[in-house]
Subunit: 452 residues, 2 copies
């Protein structure tokens, strides 16, 4: 890029995407994976969008019409954009800062001290860095839990991506009251903003950081604001053992007893759960964000995902933050998920390609309460979709395009990204933000963070 | 590419790489990972090649000189090319043909019937397809075991990549005699060919396909030809149990008793090995090709790699064939290897980034008996190296470039590939072959294979 170290604010060069780009688009001659079942693939089909929505999907020749944009889909496949249901976006600023360490040493001597140096502006640029990476790897919606969430929301709004946001709420220490006040303001300000692209929920961090009395206040607020709950649950064995010691209950059973699951809940991790916990999660329609690569890298354990899916729980996929992954690539996450559970169960038929793709799309939408709007390609649903190239060697031959996507593809195969009917990336150029500036700002912040 | 379906043989457009491209190259202003220890990284350095070899490496300004080619390495890192120590290259033609099936059903009803249809020419193009994919993901040397090996060698010779080849030898059935005769011819013809880029060993397939009397003949031939042995060992639990039943010994102990380990041996998989087996492997300096993704996908099990490494065994990395992976991407293999063993041992400090990179480079070279020629960047060693871009969002920031490469990079970051002092790929354009033709031929073959 040759722009590193150079400051520029050329927002005037960026088209106003709220006006210019949201048009009627025709994709033609394209392979379509609508995610309406394993055999729903359409060869040589077309998709028409109108405003935010998918208007029509069909096979063969598209109907005549006035299209502001026509995309030739030869040697291309279109599928729903990926929904990353658990991350901490601005932690891209910590990518590679500390790896291969024991968990507590990693947190206490590395992650937390660096995070303490982050300003609101840093979080804005770190989130933008994550958004660039996510768009370039086919993610159209992400779920975030972090701090300085006004800045995160601003980044989501201006970039054109879709997100479910929450402010991390910790019930111990001086932060606890501020978290309640800010969360109330944030939900009021941002839930439903950016033409509906932003959702804002509450983010009580975890059972071990939110004691029962604090959790009760969070739940009261959730009832008052009619909002869902995004929470870490049973990520580590230590958490599991501590909850048993403190409350005589597993983390899942403990949260049930507090009434958390009376709300709409997206529970991240759920690594250490018992068969009884799985029943509890199913009974209350709790959605689970599975983070296989983070759980592997931090050696947290392996969540019993095949059992959860078998129980009918909508298990979706998250990357977790870039400091424990170290990328936000949902293609890699799907692949790792399928491979990990095959070897863990010693059964190669477990978690076939279609199911992995379902976790990254359909189940992601369900996890966010958006199963009727996102995650599949269907007339009337939001036009969130990605176009991938099938031309490269690693995608050849094409016996099974689903298997190619889940087991062989890489982020660079994602060429075009459409979110809410808007072309966000075309031929790998992001149209709604200045990528070079985001990279330059992120590098500058990283240099400052490790200074003295 | 727009060339699919079109036949062309425009070899006249491909420069004769034996003459034109092997020149003195200067890489300057570049970050260097020489793989001489964890702290050997050089910032703003230079590398000079002369013919096949690395002539000089240093920091700061390069000496004045006559360079046929100067590459500016700003925002780039150079490291040894990856050495894929176990694959079946032409199985790219089966990529995605059959996934998520039980092992024997996969082999008997899918893989073997399709392989039976492969002609010599098919194997040539399938190998070329693999070579394209490998070069584009930074692999400079691969180890192959397959059939129609004259065609494989021809593909290696013309593409400019480096390879250790072996013809699969099965000791049961009518093939067994032919395998001996052909292997003898192949070693004579190809070992040391292509200016030393081709090595040819013997490839007795596995303990369960090569009974003791046949193995004895193979070993006799190895002694006569002074060549090494490439073999599958203890890939599945079934193999382990069968060997115990048949010979009262583990696969590793059985091979030791046959005298196999008196030879130079590269043993693929070694998933089901006991602590005693590890001692045997160490005692005989057996090199191991670990294939984490194939072992995960086929649910073969998890090899005790940390224990093997601790014992001092040179464990390297292989992708296995594209029908059980489904790509040949060594960046993904390193990442999966590190992540898998962290979670399997429940220790996040196991297999840190540097060690994973060492497996893919240094240990790969040692596994092939080329530890003094390949796997590190050092004056006097062969100039096999890759240049990766550090510019993309997923490689930002740059606290730890090693961690970025192992945990965050993707194949598309590999920009330039130099093998044996020759620029094979520059700015992702392969110079020694016609990529569009390789893809078109591969697709045509795939169509034929599934016809009727």
């Amino acid at each position: 890029m040759g722009t590193e170290g150079q400051v520029f604010m050329n927002n005037e060069h960026i088209p106003d995407h709220k006006e210019g780009l949201k048009v009627s688009i025709l994709l033609e001659n394209i392979t379509i994976i609508p995610m309406n079942g394993e055999n729903s693939l359409i060869e040589k089909g077309y998709i028409i969008t109108e405003g935010q929505f998918i208007e029509a999907i069909g096979t063969g020749q598209a109907p005549q019409g006035e299209y502001a944009k026509i995309i030739d889909g030869r040697d291309r496949v279109v599928l729903p954009g990926f929904i990353n249901t658990h991350t901490h976006a601005a932690m891209t600023l910590l990518r590679g800062y500390a790896d291969d360490l024991p968990l507590m040493e990693w947190l206490e001597s590395k992650v937390w001290p660096l995070e303490a140096k982050l300003s609101a502006e840093d979080v804005y640029w770190g989130t933008m860095l994550a958004i660039v990476e996510m768009i370039k790897s086919g993610t159209t919606t992400f779920t975030d839990m972090y701090f300085f969430m006004n800045e995160v929301a601003r980044a989501v709004e201006s970039s054109g991506i879709r997100a479910l946001l929450s402010r991390g709420m910790v019930g111990v220490g001086p932060e606890n009251e501020r978290a309640i006040i800010e969360s109330r303001e944030l939900v009021s300000r941002w839930h439903g903003a950016a033409e509906g692209r932003i959702m804002f929920w509450l983010g009580p961090h975890a059972p071990y950081t939110c004691p029962p009395d604090y959790m009760a206040r969070v739940l009261q607020l959730a009832t008052e604001l009619k909002t869902g709950i995004n929470i870490h649950v049973a990520e580590t064995r230590v958490e599991f053992d501590d909850m048993i010691k403190l409350y005589g209950k597993t983390p899942v059973a403990h949260l049930e007893s507090l009434g958390v699951f009376e709300h709409e809940v997206l529970a991240a991790h759920c690594v250490h759960v018992t068969p009884e916990d799985i029943e509890i999660l199913k009974k209350h329609n709790v959605a689970i964000a599975h983070n296989p690569e983070s759980n592997m890298k931090l050696a947290s354990g392996i969540a019993p995902v095949p059992a959860m899916l078998k129980a009918g729980i909508p298990v979706s996929l998250g990357t977790d933050g870039a400091s424990s992954n170290n990328n936000l690539d949902m293609l890699q996450e799907m692949r790792s998920c399928a491979l990990l559970h095959k070897v863990n169960t010693m059964d190669p038929t477990v978690l076939p390609a279609y199911q992995a793709l379902e976790m990254a799309t359909v189940n992601g939408a369900i996890s966010l309460g958006l199963g009727q709007e996102l995650g599949r390609l269907q007339p009337g649903m939001k036009a969130d979709m990605i176009i991938m190239s099938l031309e490269e060697a690693h995608m050849t031959p094409r016996y099974d395009i689903l298997a190619n996507i889940v087991y062989a593809a890489q982020a660079g195969d994602v060429e075009t990204v459409i979110i809410d009917g808007q072309i966000i990336m075309e031929d790998r150029m992001i149209k709604t933000l200045n990528e070079a500036e985001v990279l330059a700002q992120s590098r500058r912040i990283a240099e400052r963070l490790v200074e003295g």
